[in-house]
């Protein structure tokens, strides 16, 4: 066989080429494996320790008792106390973050001129980069100290679920706005045109065509936001207090699941003691909640995925 000038490379494999290719594949697979193994390891430790805990404390007590006092001499393990606090702060945060985030996204995607959008969107995303400890002290010093105390006086405690929830909501707005905006912006222009051609206003078009078409993406953003609020630690630890208390009163000190884990982890509880094991039980509960949320999100997104295509 003759090789023409400037012709093709020979068709035979080369040994070095094969080896290099294989090395690259191995390296990539290694990286993937590390992240998977880490996750598996984390879950395994969580479950093993949690099982240890449930060997000593009945799961019925865990689910039914109405007090959370593992750090006291008369111990009760009613997780519902911590869950109620987490629910309260999450609920308040979502009441702020979801509507404001979605409206901001609608504004950015449907109303803002392209130039404004190109400036505002990254600006919003920068907000998401502020360390949560800053938000925590903002909640404690300013929102509680100045705003809420100014408005409500002694009716509100220094530590309370309200300010933690509100500030957490503000912190989560960029996440909701940015992800929802991505979903809205991806809706094909032809759908908007179809709506306008039927005599719809911009608002009607946004609300009745664009938002429903982007629903799966918006719901995914909402679920992420809820997960973020449930797992948020710094703000609630700083501003909501460390008083495990059952109920949804936003004005009193409470303790969320995450603040409890911080409290024990930072304290002097001996490793292996029942007090120490509680953080794994609480952690496993948190994990189960976020897992459920994500399963719901995955199911919903698949069901309504890119409905407009």
């Amino acid at each position: 066989m003759t090789v023409r000038p400037g012709g093709l490379r020979p068709l035979t494999r080369t040994r070095t080429g094969d080896l290099a290719e294989r090395a690259i594949v191995l390296a990539l697979r290694g990286c993937a494996l590390v992240s998977i193994l880490t996750t598996v390891g984390l879950v395994a430790i969580l479950l093993v320790e949690a099982l240890d805990f449930f060997g000593r404390v009945s799961i019925v007590d865990f689910l039914t008792q109405a007090k959370w006092t593992p750090l006291f001499s008369s111990k009760e393990f009613g997780i519902v106390v911590l869950i109620s606090a987490t629910l309260l702060t999450t609920l308040i945060a979502m009441l702020v973050a979801l509507p404001v985030g979605l409206l901001a996204a609608i504004y950015l995607s449907e109303y803002a001129p392209e130039r404004q959008r190109r400036i505002l969107k990254p600006a919003i995303e920068v907000l998401a980069g502020i360390p949560t400890v800053v938000y925590g002290y903002f909640a404690l010093q300013f929102v509680t100290g100045v705003l809420l105390k100014g408005l409500l006086g002694d009716a509100i405690s220094t530590f309370n679920g309200l300010s933690a929830g509100l500030v957490m909501g503000v912190m989560i707005i960029p996440l909701v706005a940015s992800l929802s905006e991505d979903a809205l912006y991806a809706v094909p222009q032809s759908l908007r045109a179809g709506s306008y051609a039927l005599g719809a206003t911009r608002f009607e078009t946004s609300l009745r065509v664009v938002v429903p078409a982007a629903l799966s993406g918006i719901v995914a953003a909402f679920v992420l936001a809820v997960g973020r609020a449930v797992g948020e630690t710094m703000i609630v630890a700083i501003a909501a207090g460390q008083s495990p208390r059952l109920g949804l009163d936003p004005f009193v000190p409470i303790e969320t699941m995450t603040s409890y884990i911080v409290q024990v982890a930072l304290g002097d509880t001996p490793v292996g003691s029942i007090e120490f094991l509680t953080i794994f039980a609480v952690g496993a509960t948190l994990f189960a909640m976020t897992l459920l949320l994500n399963l719901f999100s995955a199911w919903f997104t698949r069901r309504y995925r890119e409905a407009y295509q």
Binding site: E114, S190, G194, S195, Y196, A197, L198, A200, E204
Partner: protein
């Protein structure tokens, strides 16, 4: 431009009130095909219409009338401004950032570009069907009911949906699956759904931008048939690249052409028969006989 041939029954076409009585006999409609004319009172009169996209001019001082209950075809090579002209007729162009319109478009003698005119109201009277079918990701029922809902339709929605789907020759195929997504339909069905959606708000004019370009010949024939039927009640303007389609369905034809400077101008406008068999401009002749780039 055209001699106005006034046939006896055409007088009634001037006042919109006479619609129902005109529907009575369908051979009258066929007469209209044989006797195309601008009629006494056009629904839309375009006067010196120019459109710019940013610095680029797309069409230049176009003037023509769209006759009541007529089907007018707009033909011309790609990029000559057919879509631009069509979208100027119901102020859809202004949704494009940087688009600028000058001149007048008189709808029932009222300039739709006048300061006090609401473009949303204009589009309720002058509907549009797009080149690519664009049903909403909603049920068939909700697609048709959409316009009625936002316009605060009194009356029964179910009836309106059925009537519109029947009118668009889609009822038999969809009556058992009104709750299914509009996107589950075939391309031709989707386009008829878009037509049903457009006529559900009872506009007076329907603008169609190459409505059959994404469809197979059978679906195309269906839509053409439908257009002939709709012309009894509506005024239709259709952009098409298909010469046979223009000659099959339209009463009047406008030929647009962009010269060297890529600005679209109206070359010739007249009864479709004349444009296709006896054009006055050699460029028209070249184009309709396929001798054009």
């Amino acid at each position: 431009m055209t001699e106005t041939t006034v046939v006896p029954w055409a007088e009634g076409l001037g006042d919109g009130a006479g619609h129902a009585s005109l529907v009575a006999s369908s051979d009258m409609v066929t007469d209209a095909v044989r006797w195309p004319m601008t009629g006494p009172a056009p629904v839309i009169e375009v006067r010196d219409l120019s459109v710019h996209y940013g610095a680029k001019q797309a069409i230049d001082r176009i003037s023509l009338d769209f006759g009541r209950n007529r089907i007018t075809a707009i033909i011309g090579p790609s990029g000559c401004g057919k879509t631009t002209l069509l979208r100027a007729l119901n102020r859809m162009n202004e949704l494009i950032p940087g688009a600028r319109t000058t001149g007048q478009v008189l709808y029932e003698a009222q300039d739709i570009y006048a300061r006090d005119v609401d473009p949303v109201a204009v589009r309720r009277r002058i509907g549009m069907v797009f080149q690519k079918p664009n049903p909403f990701p909603k049920s068939i029922y909700d697609n048709v009911a959409y316009g009625a809902r936002i316009n605060g339709h009194e009356g029964k929605l179910d009836e309106l949906v059925e009537r519109s789907l029947r009118r668009a020759a889609l009822w038999d195929e969809t009556k058992d699956k009104l709750r299914d997504s509009g996107l589950a339909l075939s391309g031709g069905q989707q386009q008829r759904l878009c037509i049903a959606r457009a006529i559900a708000i009872d506009p007076q004019v329907i603008l169609m931008d190459e409505p059959c370009s994404a469809l197979d010949p059978i679906a195309t024939l269906k839509i053409e048939e439908l257009m002939r039927e709709l012309a009894v009640d509506y005024t239709i303007v259709i952009v098409t690249h298909n010469m046979q389609q223009a000659s099959r369905v339209s009463d009047m034809t406008a030929f647009l052409l962009a010269g060297e400077e890529r600005i679209g101008r109206l070359v010739e406008y007249g009864p479709t028969v004349d444009i296709f068999t006896n054009p006055r401009d050699t460029r028209t002749e070249d184009y309709v006989s396929g001798r054009f780039g």
